[in-house]
Amino acid sequence: MADPKVPQADVKAVMDERAGAAVAQKRRAALLRTGGLAAGFLALVLVVNVLAHGNFLEPQNLTNVLRQITLNAILAVGQTFVIITAGIDLSVGSIVGLCGVVMTLVANTLNLGGPGTFIVTLLVGLAVGCAAGYVNALPVVRLGLPPFITTLAMMQIARGLALILAHGQPIPLANSTPFDWLGTGYIFSGIPGFPGISWQVLVMAVVAIVFAILLGRTAFGRYVLALGGNEEAARLAGVDTRRVKTLVYVISGGCAAIGGMLLMARFSSGNPVNGTGAELQCIAAVVVGGTSLMGGRGTIVGTFFGALLIGVLNNVMNLLAIESYTQQIVLGAVILLAVVLDELRKRYLAAR
């Protein structure tokens, strides 16, 4: 407590010290949380590994887990930004499908040689995804319509467009060479005993890291959090809330485009039904990762672990030969458990 009799310089010194202490304490708490989580995770993994006759910890299986979560993790990264502003983006699954089809069509008409085709295709795909995100945001920021509705509409529209453009059928890539490295390639696979890292996983890692920094370290990230916490206060503090809000939907659409690219490269085709149901999967990852649907709170690291947890769970259940209907129930229970635990933790902290 600042005693009026204490000179200001001393208060400042005390505050500086306390700020350092508070930051250190936060770090310790975060470390403890992450450490605890990791330890629990490890224990679980070991148990599971025994149950699965040692198959889980096979390097091949571990790389599979990472490859399987790439799409969900990338979509969830974009979705995190939207959900922090107390919004929601239901259109990402459809944008994945639409971008895949558009990119396949573009690649099939281009004749630029490998890298040229790749770059132009990627840019067109990103443009389509970001444009869809922009259209999502327009009625939200201009008219104050609920994003649930505008993105639901986009979900239908983008899926329909994808199906029309592809005549309802998957379109094979005429020449998949420019994309094969991204679809099925590995790097660092020359090292003996190391399976290498899939390019798909690497893309996921880069997306996660770039957006984690964007959210955690830049002014834009701070504005996203402030907007989610109290939009009017942010606006009156000079934050261009319309622009920030628009950008989060553009980011989400852009992430969906990257997801569409990865699927197209992996399967050497653009399938208009790609990404069906992906919107709910990625929302689950975001929520399991501790981002509040009420807005104002969330991290990319949390989201990544949310996607990882869901991926590991899926993989483990497959290894244990649990039938897919039961898997759905388990996943539902895990989502519920995650948010209940988070709420209990918050209440515990508030009551202490």
Partner: protein
């Protein structure tokens, strides 16, 4: 029990203790209320008034201590229990459902039923009966969101009465009321007292206590310092007990405006249409000058400062800062031009409650802390700590979430946010609403400090003494337009009120 024992009080709280992380909010508080009594509970922000009342209302459990109602030990384990015991709570921010009508709000949760269905006629007659007995006229079908503040408050009182409350706790009931509405509220309280309803009355407006309170209890730092009959507790004593030291004159001396002081803020024929319509407002504020905007609630004062700050976009007119025209299309533009708006509702408009002191302090000027691509958190912390020290913000550290600070300290965080930007024009909208005496004095001192630095200040306040005591000039607003201007010496309460109410032009 002997026959000679006096009847037990309606409420007796004994040795109540409540601890929050790092703070002992209540340190063995004992507090009594007699039937039909108005018992005022006063203290600085953070003294423990709200916590004590939340425990009484069942919103929070006490760590230890006892509560007796009518001499019988009770365990208040939730709001329903409190309600059953006849305890009604009216928070400063009302708890009405905005889209429900007055009747539905009054009977919410205790709706009369016929079989499975709601009995609307019975609800209407029940509400009408309660209101009728007290001689209150309310538009029964109107949605709560369209009621005035005073009407909402009456609805809250009726809600308590339908639940047969014998003790009603009111938190800052007059903060947003006009003088006439306050008088109406007081006569209603007196009527209910006659029916043996007791009140716990929490207020920062000490001057109104002699008019309404029977007894006054002063809380300080989580302890009940003293309880006395209101008649034996002059205002100076209350203040001394509250702050633990004697506080001299409420308002500091304003430094005179230099005769050659340049015009800093020049508002020319500004109009705006959101909320109360603002019509052709024109005035100037010089360097080192405070211009007070007086008027009734709803006169358009807030709308005027919002238009200047770009919070609402003006439809017409021109705003100049230091002679340069300002394009006010958004708060962003106004901030760039050196205009800071300290809004009246800090929770809804001033702060991001879930963020910490540092993040709130730097929000409006985050650009100052960006190095390369990234926000430099240690620079933020440095600046924030300087503000914490200068404004005496009581917080464990810059990393504390502002939600956990008391009202006065939250208001100081809002001020810190605007101080770091070196604005030229400060628009204060109800800067001391709901804030304790000590913090008020600090905010006044800060305004004087800003004047010395050559800033121009516009202050909107519903507290007439504040406007008169803290302004070089007073502009009286009615119907979204400036109706009169008084120099400091000429502004008297009756002249200002006459213009504000439309008695005088």
């Amino acid at each position: 029990m002997t026959a000679a024992a006096p009847p037990p009080p309606l409420l007796r709280m004994t040795g109540i203790v409540k601890t929050f992380p790092g703070v002992r909010a209540l340190d063995g508080v004992s507090f009594e209320v007699e039937p039909g009594e108005v018992h005022a509970l006063v203290g600085e922000n953070g003294a423990g008034k709200s916590t004590l009342m939340k425990i009484l209302a069942g919103a929070q459990p006490a760590d230890s201590g006892e509560i007796d109602v009518d001499g019988k030990r009770v365990a208040i384990d939730g709001p329903r229990t409190a309600e059953r015991l006849g305890i009604g709570m009216i928070y400063q921010e009302f708890n009405l459902v905005p889209d429900l009508g007055v009747i539905e709000n009054i009977v919410l949760g205790v709706e009369p039923r016929r079989g499975m269905f709601l009995d609307k006629p019975a609800a209407a007659s029940e509400a009408a009966k309660v209101l009728g007995e007290l001689g209150i006229a309310l538009p029964l079908d109107r949605a709560a969101r369209r009621l005035s503040v005073a009407e909402q408050q009456l609805t809250e009182i009726a809600k308590c009465l339908v639940r047969k409350a014998r003790l009603i706790v009111m938190d800052e009931p007059t903060a947003a009321l006009t003088e006439r509405e306050i008088e109406a509220l007081f006569s209603l309280i007196r009527k209910l007292k006659a029916q043996n309803v007791a009140f716990v009355y929490i207020s920062h407006r000490l001057e109104e206590l002699p008019r309404i309170a029977d007894r006054i209890t002063v809380l300080r730092d989580g302890k009940a310092i003293e309880t006395r009959a209101a008649a034996q507790m002059p205002q100076d004593d209350v203040i001394r007990l509250m702050v633990g030291r004697s506080l001299k004159a409420h308002f500091p001396d304003l430094p005179p405006v230099a005769p050659d002081a340049p015009v800093v803020l020049d508002v020319r024929d500004v109009s705006a249409v959101s909320g109360v319509r603002v019509n052709d407002v024109a005035f100037q504020v010089h360097a080192g000058e405070i211009v007070g905007l007086a008027g009734l609630v709803g006169a358009g004062r807030t709308e005027i400062v919002r238009a200047i700050a770009g919070a609402d976009v003006p439809t017409k007119g021109e705003i100049r800062v230091d002679g340069a025209q300002v394009v006010v299309r958004s708060p962003r533009g106004a901030i760039r031009a050196g205009i800071a708006l300290i809004t009246e509702d800090r929770k809804a408009q001033g702060l991001v409650l879930g963020m910490n002191v540092r993040e709130n302090t730097t929000l409006a000027h985050l650009g100052l802390f960006v190095r390369g691509l990234f926000v430099d958190k240690s620079a933020e912390t440095q600046t924030t700590n300087t503000e914490i020290a200068e404004l005496r913000i009581r917080t464990p550290s810059a990393e504390q979430t502002v939600r956990n600070l008391s009202g006065g300290n939250q208001q100081k965080v809002v001020l810190a946010k605007w101080l770091i930007g070196h604005a030229r024009v400060f628009l204060f909208d109800e800067p001391t609403r709901g804030i304790d005496v000590g913090a008020k004095a600090e905010i006044y001192a800060l305004m004087v400090e800003l004047l010395r630095g050559g800033a121009a200040i516009v202050m909107v306040s519903s507290e007439l003494p504040e406007v008169l005591g803290m302004s070089h000039r007073v502009l009286v607003v009615r119907g979204g337009a400036i109706r009169a201007e008084f120099a400091r010496g000429d502004a008297t309460p009756d002249k200002v009120i006459a213009v504000a109410t439309g008695v005088a032009a």
